[in-house]
Amino acid sequence: MKRLWTVPALALCSIALSAFAQDGGVFDQYREMLGDDSPAIFVIDEGEEYWYAPAGPNDVSLEACDLGLGAGVVEGAYAQMPRFFDDTGRVMDVEARLLHCMVTLQGRDAAEVHAKPYSGRGDMGTEMEALVAWIADQSMGSPLTPGQTHSEEQAAFTLGEQIFYYRAGPHDFSCATCHEQAGVRIRLQDLAELPNPEAARDIATTWPAYRLSQGVVRTFGWRMRDCLRQQRLPELIMGSEASVALQHYLSVKASGAPMNAPGLKR
């Protein structure tokens, strides 16, 4: 089993530090006390195991899965997503791509994966969360460079931007309602001014993340879904055009910043 040691080991010490100077520094002491002992390490190992474990009716592993850099190439793959894939003719995020590989390589039923991709209360983690954690860890330190040259990638950025500013639902919320201004917060949590590349860089490079409040690793796609849930909008489907577009919009804004995931969040 391949394991990239040097880059994650060097970057490990930066996990806690990247969270400093946010939220007015009010949680700096808390973060410093947590140090770099993040339970994400277990989830990363579990993700690696899932990747190499035969599954589905075809009883094969995900080793031949092409995440954009060639079949089986995982190192650096997370950092170049979302991106356009020729074989599917669409822009995909890591979850959409994993689902594609689960269906085409392993013969699994897409509906089954969609039924429970993310942990519920009392769960210790799902296969998808673990895979994304490991794959993101394999991009630790790599600059985030989502695809921007293909017309579909540009269309995804435009769609993501439209969704970001689109007011809907019973509260007439858009992402921008909370995330368009600088210097605002909810309770003690800073609200990132997401269209600003500086803010987008902090956000897009630290998901997936171990969520202390939930005891599991959550993906970027899950975070988009949970934002929409809080806006009282319909459920955002994993790997859907809308989910990918939102992540793509934020990833492009963050373009060039080094990946630092799995991160550690409240």
Binding site: D37, P39, F42, G122, M124
Partner: protein, 103 residues
Amino acid sequence: MAGRIRVRAQLSDGVTEVKALMRHPMETGLRKDADGNAIPANFITEVTATHNDRVVMQAFWGASVSQNPFLACRFTGGAVGDDVTVNWVDNLGETGTGTTKIR
């Protein structure tokens, strides 16, 4: 996945610091899942840290120790290359273990 412990042991100025991170739900038994069913209590009740088979820390835990729990302790008399092992047992009788060598 079950029973995993990541143990680190660092020697400095004669004192070995042990840091152990454990994989465990530490479920209190008071929570309900999405369907409204009670999630059964499942938490580590006892932890032991040993250095070359000598106990250097013993801990009794309740369910209010955090999920995926952490323990750090320190002892003297360790040398680089010595074994440090951490063991736990939970309320359901399951066990976990992890070991490392002092650096």
